[in-house]
């Protein structure tokens, strides 16, 4: 069943066309990764899907009652706003202390962090808090916009393992923007390349089978490869018409 679909989606920001003619759909339980160069419209695409941006043309259809766990790429909390982690996790819906504690534990954060101010967290802790907040919605789909931005290499690996664990428990779909191509190649059912429009998409099988990506992936995430293995029963051609990734 389709969770989110777009048809001929066009987004304009400040008079500039950022995305045009995007036809896209993501189904239950599917893992889709979005790649593309800087400024290609990846974040804009994610924001349009969660309803943060209105289309200039075309449509975005979300399944009725769809719960989205959205982790934005950046979130600036104004220092004039006092906000504990616990209070942030209860926005906008009040969560009871047990649910908050469970979400913190699942994302690998200590109990004591609940009372700390959001603005006092490290980058890695903040990313985990954002994910914890997304989990509290019991999402049908996680929409993650570069969730590992600003994390160091072990931090990136740990974060992807965490996402995989969470996905296995919830059985939710995952749509994420990623620059970590080695993860993309073996973890995703489908890869979408965006550059103002969808320039190519398909199963990452061909690339993921390349030994250099296997090697990179195996070291980078400390054996997470096994967790990420998926059966791909179809092979189809897709050409990458841009080569900005290593």
């Amino acid at each position: 069943m389709t969770l989110i679909a777009t048809e001929d989606l066009t987004i304009r920001l400040d008079g500039r066309t950022i995305l045009h003619g995007v036809d896209f759909a993501i189904r239950e339980g599917e893992i889709v990764t979005v790649v593309g160069p800087n400024g290609s419209g990846k974040s804009t695409f994610m924001r349009a899907l969660v309803g943060a941006l209105a289309p200039a043309k075309g449509t975005v259809t979300r399944r009725a009652g769809l719960r989205i766990g959205y982790v934005p790429q950046t979130l600036h909390i104004d220092p004039t706003l006092p906000l504990t982690v616990a209070r942030f996790l209860s926005l906008p819906v009040r969560r009871d202390a047990r649910a908050v504690a469970a979400a913190l534990a699942e994302t690998g954060l200590p109990d004591t962090i609940a009372a700390r101010q959001i603005t006092a967290l490290s980058g890695g802790q903040f990313q985990r808090v954002l994910l914890a907040r997304a989990l509290l919605t019991d999402p049908h789909i996680l929409v993650l916009d570069e969730p590992t931005k600003g994390l160091d290499q072990p931090g990136v690996a740990a974060f992807y393992l965490l996402i995989e664990r969470v996905r296995q428990r919830l059985g939710c779909a995952v749509l994420m923007v990623s620059h970590d191509l080695h993860v993309v190649m073996s973890a995703s059912d489908r890869v979408i390349c965006i550059n103002g429009h969808i320039c190519c998409e398909g199963a990452p099988t061909a690339v993921s089978e390349a030994p250099e990506y296997r090697a990179l992936f195996g070291h980078g995430t400390r054996g997470a490869l096994a967790l990420y293995q998926h059966e791909h029963d179809h092979h189809h051609e897709h050409s990458h018409d841009h080569g900005e990734h290593p």
Binding site: D78, L83, T84, R87, P92, V93, Q117
Partner: protein
Amino acid sequence: MIFDGFFLRALLAGTGIALAAGPLGCFVVWRRMAYFGDATAHAAILGVALSLALDTMMPVGVLATAAGMALAVTFLAGRGLAVDTLLGVAAHSALAFGVLALAWTGQKGVDLHRYLFGDVLLVTDGEIGAIWAGALLLVALLAWRWPALLTATVSEDLARAEGIHPARERLVLMLAVAVLVAMAIDVVGALLVTALLIIPAATARPFATTPERMAVSAGLIGVVATALGLVAAFAWDAPAGPSIVAASAVGFGISSLASLFGKTHLG
């Protein structure tokens, strides 16, 4: 002698406004809307002139122009000019045109000073009733919209992903500020309304750990500062509006110093 009818009426009017201004002012601080408060308040002077010219009730004219300014600024923001430039233009032109309009209405005995700095001694029993009705309405409005307002303040994207409309919540806040301006113009005047919004919130900030605590503290701090300011005004025969703002400013100074030396600052 201090607890005569004038003082009690001033106290009732001032504390009613402070109670609503504290929590509302927190949003003005969090969303960096101080200049917006000025633009809305200054537009109120135009409303005074309009009310005198059309012979309508003062709060109606003031509310109409303040709300009109709020809507105009919201509509124009993000259409070219930087927001602070736009608000600066709006705030000062509203003040200039308002003062000119008051002069043009040509009525003898129109006391400009009263509308710029307020005169709480002239507040009637009916106005006190209106102020408290307005204050309770504003507090109820904020309590009702609180989760959506707060989420939209933290992140408009997160809010939209939760089905909240940030534009609607922004409109709620802008109109709430317009209502507060209409309530407060008699007490502190158009030039000092923004102080009632911002100073108690800024005073509460260093000691608050959650938005709710900051909002409640700001309301209480505003009430205490208003009472102290009025006591000082009556004791030394000083103008009431500026005394209230001065008392709030002293409170802010103490809070800032305490957080600096006490290291209780958690932000």
